[in-house]
């Protein structure tokens, strides 16, 4: 049996279906990612699986326990790290862990050992007696991961584990997550709207949009849907018909004045494509990313709301 199973789980708010009849099976020991834009329903789904939000319809089992009938057992089986910092910053790191060891009823004789282990795991032993107020964003997140693990849960939920962290710290957190999965054999269910995060961390990724799962596969298999490589070129009068006829070309698209060509196999064919394409002022060759998969599936960018991305689009539009 899978460690998490959902059966038509649904959450409806007044005039919004946040989660729409999702059926999901997550296997023990894997890192499973829910990838989607903000508002796709990822956090609602994970909150239902944490028994924080009751489903409107359907149900799920976590570690064999029904989330509606046995919420207490579900809570004992899971650890959770929330999107925004949730440690008490007036307390020290160690006090936060002590507090949670009490909340989870960890026996007094192993309490100290567990807290030490958890602090060592996230490299916070040397700052244990400092108030959380003085921690950096990355340290706070690490402390929360330690806190989520203090009662040795079988499953750890991570809701946007690197939201708002700088790139270096993000990679650092990824290392910790990978280490947990490998050394502690914890099943990890995480939500993210970062493509690279899902790509580099997750064994399997479910792409979520409008409360539904629209694709579910290992990242490599998802990317294979697009092809092996992508040529992006700016061409004045592209010779698209010729290109389309080439046997190893899986897809040709025109978007914002750029031509996007997906290839089933790369290697020696790239030259042939370029020769047939016409006079190009700009050429880019790259591996497909989960972002390409997402755009193909939903027809939109995942981070359409980002101001920075908007600025880039705007700059490109005005400087042809």
């Amino acid at each position: 049996m899978s460690i998490i199973e959902t059966h038509g789980i649904t959450k409806r708010y007044k005039n919004l279906v946040a989660v729409d009849h999702i059926d999901l099976e997550i296997e023990e020991g894997e890192i499973f990612g829910l990838l989607g834009p903000n508002g796709a329903g990822k956090t609602t789904l994970i909150s239902m699986l944490a028994t924080l939000v009751p489903p409107t319809e359907g149900t799920a089992t976590v570690n064999g326990f029904d989330i509606i009938k046995k919420p207490g057992d579900v809570r004992k089986s899971i650890g959770m790290v929330f999107q925004t910092p949730s440690s008490d910053d007036i307390l020290t790191g160690r006090e936060n862990l002590y507090l949670h060891s009490l909340l989870y009823g960890i026996p007094a004789e192993v309490r100290k050992q567990r807290i030490d282990d958890a602090l060592n795991l996230v490299d916070l032993k040397d700052r244990e007696n400092d108030r959380v107020k003085t921690y950096s964003g990355g340290m706070k997140r690490r402390l929360e991961i330690a806190r989520g693990l203090i009662h040795r849960p079988k499953i750890l939920y991570l809701d946007e584990p690197t939201l708002g962290l700088d790139p270096q710290t993000r990679e650092h957190i990824w290392e910790y997550i990978e280490r947990l999965s490998k050394d502690e054999k914890v099943t990890i269910l995480m939500t993210t709207h970062y493509m690279d995060e899902a790509d580099s961390l997750c064994d399997r990724v479910a792409i979520v949009d409008h409360g539904r799962i629209i694709a579910l596969d290992p990242p490599s298999a998802l990317k294979m849907r697009i092809g092996k490589s992508i040529i992006k070129a700016k061409v004045n009068s592209p010779n698209l018909e010729t290109i389309r006829k080439l046997p190893y070309v899986s897809k040709v698209e025109q978007k914002d004045g750029d031509v996007l060509i997906s290839l089933n196999e790369a290697g020696s064919h790239i030259q042939e494509v370029l020769c047939n394409l016409g006079e190009a002022s700009y050429v880019e060759l790259r591996e497909p990313t989960l972002n390409d998969v997402f755009i193909q599936l939903t027809g939109k960018e995942i981070r359409a709301e980002s101001a920075e991305d908007f600025a880039q689009v705007y700059a490109r539009a005005n400087n042809p």
Partner: protein
């Protein structure tokens, strides 16, 4: 077992927060002292009130005011808690809502009691009996008002309603309790209103124990205070069970 250690954890947290926010303690001591010295001293200079003097007369009322403000705002603060994910991290722990409420309530109660305890030094001398009775009333009041604050706080989503709670809950409860004036010789409508206000009995009980000036018998004062406290604890527990 988890419920007991969980209860301790919640209480431990509030105590730590209390001891680390020293500025709050200073404020909560200075505030009642201003009442006693400035208000009590000023008004008392031309109010002939028995053997206690006006400052002594309003001492139980000022004690009550301290507990009232500390306790209600402690409870209302869970509006803030709910906004940050810290509270969710407690909600996701395997403890029942009853434990969560009890832990919070005892934490707030300790908070209010410690602040009142500092003020108690200004009421010296006590007999063992008068001190015991005053402490019992302070605790019952703290439990009741913390529960009220938690119940209201669990239903609110922002600080917007705070001013209204001060105008419609705290100040009427306080000013219509006989904290600042004797209960006899009141106009008819105030006789009715003060006797419907549970805080009237708490002030009366404390004043009776301290100075032997009381309108109602002690058992009635204690009974009303205990009932008030039990009812509000029940309301708070119910509100927490419903909170999402």
């Amino acid at each position: 077992m988890t419920e007991i250690t969980g209860l301790y954890a919640l209480w431990y947290r509030e105590l730590k927060v209390f001891t680390r926010e020293r500025s709050r303690i200073v404020g909560s001591v200075v505030n009642p002292l201003i009442w006693l010295v400035a208000f009590g001293g000023g008004l008392g200079s031309f109010l002939p009130i028995g053997s206690t003097g006006y400052i002594g007369f309003i001492f139980p009322g000022v004690l009550m005011l301290t507990v009232l403000f500390t306790a209600i705002f402690f409870g209302l603060y869970i509006v803030l808690d709910k906004r940050i994910d810290f509270f969710k991290s407690v909600l996701v722990a395997p403890i029942t809502r009853v434990t969560l409420f009890s832990g919070k309530m005892l934490g707030g109660c300790t908070d209010a009691f410690l602040q009142a305890a500092i003020l108690l030094f200004f009421g010296i001398p006590y007999t063992a009996f008068s001190l015991l009775i005053v402490v019992v009333f302070v605790l019952l009041l703290a439990m009741a008002i913390t529960s009220l604050g938690l119940a209201i706080g669990s239903m609110l989503t922002s600080f917007e309603g705070f001013g209204l709670i001060q105008s419609f809950v705290i100040l009427p409860l306080f000013f219509l309790s006989g904290a600042l004036y004797p209960l006899d010789n009141l106009p008819a409508w105030m006789v009715v209103v003060t006797r419907m206000n549970p805080l009237t009995y708490i002030v009366d009980g404390m004043r009776g124990a301290l100075y032997g000036i009381n309108t109602f018998p002690l058992f009635l004062d204690l009974g009303v205070a205990a009932l008030f406290s039990v009812v509000l604890i029940a309301v708070g527990t119910y509100a927490f069970k419903r909170m999402t």
